[in-house]
Symmetry: C2
Subunit: 445 residues, 2 copies
């Protein structure tokens, strides 16, 4: 009988606990922090989450899709705020397709509730992972309440302990383990647009709002209580940066100049800006994700990405789905399943890390670019005419379960084709004419 250890009771760890519990295994979940289910709600530095198809699929597998739908706000497209206040709308997909703004805390709580309800799941809180003995497969923790060290020997271990994974540090030291961490020159800071006195939203709640400004950007996602969580992505250093915009006066002046319509919605902006921490953005890539048949990394521990495709959690959830399906297919035999999973899934992790980075440039630079917006319009039209011939990259990533690595390759092929289309003379005038579609059809076939 397998004795499963899961390090980290975040989103991915909680989900994996549920899936392993459903299979009947004895599951032990170890979490550094206190029990989130009973802890007071703390507003953290978490960027609002955008749930999409891959995430929903996993939640369905876990059996809590309906519960989460109740607390999710659909966003049908981007709403771009130009400097002069002009709004431009761009749908994410077809009319009924949306990504969903959800509270990370609430989602995690619900997953933990469900995991804790299984009689074969034990949740251990206040357990800081110090190390892992790869010889014995024993996890070593310090209990933050008793201050004592304890060991737990497991037959299989899932490391879902995030971008700064302690389990991964041990693998990095003990085996032929390729590893890289890379910081963005940009960091982020959370801000807030409060609800109107009547509890209504100050912006349209069913859009993801973006203020693209080339070298930086502001975004806003709706909350259930009428507020918006905003995130400023901004250079850490340089002329206009977190380093230089460091007084209430400078913050206000900078927003007045750069985000005037947003400033109007945030009367206490400068205070919140000065109070909230500045966080960094790091990418992690590694290979392999497993140590023998004993340990495997899932979620951010395996593939930390920048948040610009809204896929961090969705990818982590899909890790769980993919592992679950592989285990099913293998008739619950664990032999080689971790190395097979690593081999199969790692290229998809790499692809979404690259896609997320590309999307950063797209969001902050291209969403304000007429050529880019035209390209999206032409793609949408063609895709509607020939849905079997063209699924936009964004839809492949967000509204399908196509492997990320395949989506990435498809996207590159599509970009090469669209580059040719945009070279057509006067394309901005003639884009809606039939011959453009015919030309595109020729290039696709």
């Amino acid at each position: 009988m397998e004795k499963i250890g899961i390090v980290g009771a975040g989103l991915v760890g909680s989900l994996q606990a549920i899936l392993m519990a459903k299979k009947g295994y004895e599951v032990h979940v170890f979490e550094r922090r206190e029990d989130l289910r009973t802890a007071p709600v703390i507003e953290g530095r978490s960027i609002n989450l955008a749930l999409s198809d891959r995430g929903w699929k996993a939640l369905q597998l876990a059996g809590i899709k309906e519960e989460i739908e109740k607390i999710a706000i659909p966003m049908y497209g981007r709403c771009m705020h130009a400097l002069d206040g002009t709004l431009t709308y761009q749908p994410y997909g077809k009319e009924d397709q949306a990504i969903y703004s959800v509270s990370r805390g609430e989602l995690n709580r619900q997953l933990l509730n469900l995991a804790g309800a299984f009689p074969n799941v034990q949740l251990h809180f206040h357990k800081k992972c110090d190390d892992l003995n790869l010889e014995t497969n024993a996890l070593i923790f310090t209990d933050s309440q008793t201050k004592k060290q304890e060991e737990h020997t497991l037959s299989r271990i899932f490391a879902t302990d995030g971008a700064y994974s302690a389990v991964r540090v041990r693998m990095q030291k003990s085996m032929m383990f390729d590893y890289s961490q890379k910081y963005l020159e940009h960091g982020y800071k959370e801000l807030v647009i409060n609800a109107n006195p009547d509890g209504s939203h100050k912006l349209e709640k069913n859009y993801l709002h973006i203020w693209p400004r080339g070298k930086f950007m502001l975004i806003a996602l709706a909350n259930l209580d009428g507020s918006f969580t905003c995130t400023l992505f901004f250079p850490m250093h340089g002329e206009e940066s977190f380093e230089t915009i460091d007084t209430t006066e400078k913050v206000t002046a900078f927003f007045r100049k750069t985000f005037p319509d947003a400033l109007e919605l945030m009367p206490d902006l400068a205070e919140v800006y000065m109070r909230n921490p500045t966080s960094t953005l790091m990418m992690v890539r590694c290979h392999p994700w497993n140590y023998k048949d004993q340990v495997v990394l899932l979620g951010d521990a395996a593939h930390a990405m920048v948040p610009f495709y809204g896929q961090g959690m969705n990818c982590g959830f899909e890790d769980c789905t993919v592992f679950y399906e592989m285990l099913e297919k293998a008739g619950d035999s664990w032999e080689n399943i971790m190395s097979d999973f690593s081999g199969f899934r790692q290229p998809d992790g790499e692809a979404i890390i690259d896609l997320a980075l590309d999307n950063y440039i797209e969001m902050r630079e291209k969403t304000g670019d007429p050529d880019f917006l035209l390209q999206k319009k032409i793609e949408a039209k063609f895709s509607k005419l020939y849905p079997n011939l063209w699924t936009p990259l964004y839809s492949q990533v967000t509204f399908s379960n196509t492997r990320y690595s395949e989506a990435y390759a498809n996207g590159k092929r599509q970009d090469a084709i669209m580059k040719k289309i945009l070279e057509i003379e006067n394309i901005h005038e003639c884009w809606d004419e039939d011959f453009v579609m015919e030309e595109l059809l020729k290039l696709v076939k």
Copy 2:
């Protein structure tokens, strides 16, 4: 008065101690192992070192060039051993240019002797670095004899503690630090060709011997006692690999098939092969190399590379030279010197890491390729005719102090030109004719 700490008394640490001592600073060197100067000589897993110009320049700066010349064996070129025993010679540079085979242990001992002779240098052995407090700039060690932990606060710290640097681990955790480690699929094992009974060498000692075999290779460098240290670079896994060639019978059969002339020179091959450890090859890249004006990484701690260009030590020594020269230029002011050094030198570290990896492919595959050998001949001829217009890449790296990053860029340009030359019809027949040189001259100008 600066109090300088150096973590690691290997080649680069010992050299840096000498250079800082010459400047009059109080220098403390901390080394995990025992005192190499009095320890019994242990044959380690060290690949024989090939000293070249950058290394010599640093040794001259340290004042021990003449001492080391006495124990260095010049190698004027490569001697390639084909499967049928045919030997092909390829000079490294001009007639009097050579790289020098030296014993790592002996070189380190001499550097330590010299460092220890300065009254302002204190050598601390048996000090295993556990951590570094970046707030106080205190190094934390465990003494392996007393088992007690101790702290040493320094004003400036040089981390020369190698590819698995403990100081770097702290930086990786505590700042926006880009880091990557990557393993080669190949590992290595040391073998030996003993001297003849009369103490003479069994192969020509003034060449670096290579048995290039495509997917793997064997090399041999001469020692002063008449023996050769051989290194087998070989896949870790796969059909023909360290994993599969794992019995005395298989080793002998494999060498008989693949390296027959080498096998003849190594009657105890199988025994040595089974006894000696298999080691892995790892590359490390990181950025930045410094933490404020407090700590800087030098040598393998900053840029671990594969050993195929013979530049690992030479690059580490050049780090010391470059830092020394920058400090001189700044009039011994330490403000920003570490960040300036990191900014200036890091691209050179990146370049030599890439060059070393490229050279692996060159050594094991291309040195047996007629096109490649012809290219080298044409380059050599042109370089002799127009020495100001063409310095071969190998010579730029090995026999000059041109920045590695410049050499790398030059090399790429040269390769593009030579690609065109090799496309000339019947180039293998006509390469020595004048029009080839004229064509090359046109392309270069």
